[in-house]
């Protein structure tokens, strides 16, 4: 690096650091505020203020959330959905991508075209909904796992990675009498760990954060995922702030969920993500490179 810096340059550096700090503040503050609110008493959380700290720290909100069974059930279903969805997605995607990476596969272009076409055109919301309904998947965990299982995008990314594995490895295994299935399971799959980890994490986060399918397909409240619970809790605030005047009047008599409870549920929903976040971030950054623009 250069030794002497001009005054203008130093000014720029300071300005740049200041802008970065400001940007980080806008991200940290909303989250920090939720942390503070979740540890506040409901009456303190309701007060106007910046909520940078709380004068009466309490675990009451968390205690109240964990008293009922809702949150445990929501955790259970979110985990089931995430684990099941991720395993199946990664399994089927890696399996499918392998033959498609073989130039000599019979009808390869046709199979690939079947996959890629889904990137441009889809049946849309209503036909998909009716299909899931006709298959009697609604109100089952399968309605959350199956409809979005495999994406053409993931197949292309994994297939591109398979291309980079030298053919010689495979040939020598074949010399020793191994067949495709054996090669895939024992050689290709282990060698693809980086790209598989990336796709696994994408799928994991996607499943954890998914809510719209649960909103559409789960109508009897038996399977409630965390995001839906959070949405329901937040929704009364949304209605209050937005809905048409008559709705507001109707709702006005009701008791709203205290801010401290809302904040606590929000914490409970994002905590697992925040815990694995450092790990996630590393792989996501790698993954975006794998998937970026080349193909």
């Amino acid at each position: 690096m250069r030794v002497h810096k001009s005054f203008a340059e130093q000014l720029f550096n300071i300005g740049n650091i200041a802008v970065m700090c400001l940007v980080c503040m806008t991200i940290i503050y909303p989250f920090w505020q939720q942390v503070v609110l979740s540890f506040s008493r409901p009456e303190d959380a309701q007060l106007i203020g910046l909520h940078l700290y709380t004068t009466h720290p309490t675990l009451d909100s968390f205690r109240r959330i964990f008293m009922g069974s809702t949150i445990y059930k929501a955790y259970y279903w979110t985990i089931v959905r995430t684990v099941l969805g991720t395993i199946l997605t990664v399994g089927v995607t890696t399996m499918m991508a392998y033959p498609l990476a073989k130039v000599y596969l019979l009808g390869r272009k046709f199979w690939m075209w079947i996959v890629v076409f889904t990137m441009f055109f889809s049946g849309g919301l209503v036909p998909t909904y009716l299909l899931v309904k006709n298959l009697h998947l609604t109100n089952t965990i399968w309605s959350l796992v199956l409809p979005g299982l495999v994406s053409a995008w993931n197949i292309i990314i994994i297939r591109n990675f398979y291309y980079s594995i030298p053919d010689e490895l495979e040939e020598s295994a074949r010399m020793d009498g191994a067949h495709d299935m054996y090669i895939f399971v024992r050689i290709i799959f282990p060698l693809s760990a980086p790209v598989i980890a990336t796709v696994t994490l994408w799928t994991l986060v996607g499943n954890w954060n998914a809510w719209f399918d649960a909103l559409m397909y789960i109508t009897n409240n038996k399977i409630k995922v965390l995001q839906i619970v959070l949405r329901e809790v937040l929704n009364d605030a949304n209605q209050m702030s937005g809905a048409n005047p008559s709705d507001v009047a109707e709702l006005a008599g009701q008791q709203y969920t205290p801010e401290s409870i809302k904040a606590a549920i929000l914490m409970v929903v994002i905590l697992p993500i925040v815990c694995v976040y450092p790990f996630l971030q590393k792989y996501f950054v790698k993954g975006i490179m794998v998937g970026a623009v080349k193909g």
Partner: protein, 306 residues
């Protein structure tokens, strides 16, 4: 001749049986969950009756498409979608580029790393969570907005219920959620720029700002143009997740996009055929956009998505 070809193919098929076994589950998935719904779009041309199913329902011809082109609300919805997409294109698209440029000028490695880690975080959370944060911040009675307004003695209003402020919130929350993560790809591209270019510029007496404008930015242009064109392919999306979590009936006038409209009409109001017709209309326009943007990308940059 023909028989040898057949036996040859069968032999090959036999040799590749394990490959086909691997391929099969995925193909079954694509056919059931992607192609059957594609067939389901015939619903748009039928008078759907749940009792008779899609196949048994009588044909309705172009009735629902005529309805689309005659309905005022669909014009409004398409207009809203394009407006929201263009606002995001103009304001949210450059944000990660600017952030990456500034980031590149940061010296301290630990500080840089910390800024990066913090800025990616919102990308990993759902719009349900982010909307929770937004409701809290913008509450006139106890949020940050209420606090600041109180301090200066402003008159407060419910910002999410005002059409104009709603659009501002939509665009700024999009920027806030994605600028950090969006910058990753640009930072990688910057890392790939040859150091010699900077050396040479320094010899010629260029300062940091000049290098940023004359070297870094031009080197990023190919990737910027690719991402921009790709983004154009999505102008009919508008951001379904975000809008579904933030909007309310008071701002339907500006916030209802094609996808939210399909959801409300098709599923919430049980107008299956009309919803399918709107979805099909969007799907066809989107397909044309994606194919033509890919064509443009291929012609202009040698890169293409397929």
């Amino acid at each position: 001749m023909n028989t040898t070809l057949v036996t040859h193919t069968l032999l090959k098929l036999n040799r590749q049986k394990y490959l086909f076994m691997l391929l099969l589950p995925g193909l079954v998935y694509f056919i059931i969950f992607k192609y059957v719904p594609m067939y389901g779009v015939v619903l748009a041309f039928k008078e759907f009756n749940p009792m008779d199913g899609i196949l048994g329902s009588p044909w309705a011809g172009m009735k629902y498409f005529n309805q689309i082109f005659q309905s005022d609300s669909i014009h409004q919805v398409v207009y809203n979608t394009l407006r929201i997409s263009l606002l995001k294109l103009v304001f949210a698209f450059p944000a990660p580029i600017m952030f990456a440029l500034l980031m590149n000028e940061l010296a301290g490695n630990a500080f840089k790393h910390a800024v990066q880690t913090i800025s990616y975080l919102p990308h990993f959370l759902s719009w349900v969570v982010i909307s929770g944060l937004i409701f809290q911040l913008l509450s006139p009675s106890y949020g940050l907005y209420g606090y600041v307004a109180n301090m200066f003695g402003w008159k407060t209003q419910v910002l999410l219920a005002q059409p104009n402020t709603f659009l501002t919130i939509l665009v700024s929350s999009e920027i806030w959620k994605e600028f950090g993560y969006g910058s990753v790809i640009y930072l990688a591209a910057i890392a790939g720029i040859s150091g010699e270019l900077y050396e040479a510029a320094r010899m010629d007496g260029a300062g940091r700002f000049k290098m940023m404008v004359h070297i870094t930015l031009p080197s990023l242009l190919p990737i910027i143009s690719i991402l921009f064109i790709l983004q154009l392919g999505h102008v009919l999306d508008g951001g379904f997740d975000q809008i579904m979590n933030l909007y309310n009936p008071l701002v339907y006038g500006v916030a209802d996009v094609v996808d939210t409209y399909v959801y409300r009409m098709g599923l919430a109001n049980f107008q299956y055929s009309f919803g399918t017709a709107v979805g099909l209309f969007k799907g066809i326009v989107a397909m044309i956009l994606v194919i033509s943007t890919n064509y443009i990308v291929r012609k202009t940059t040698d890169h293409s998505i397929w």
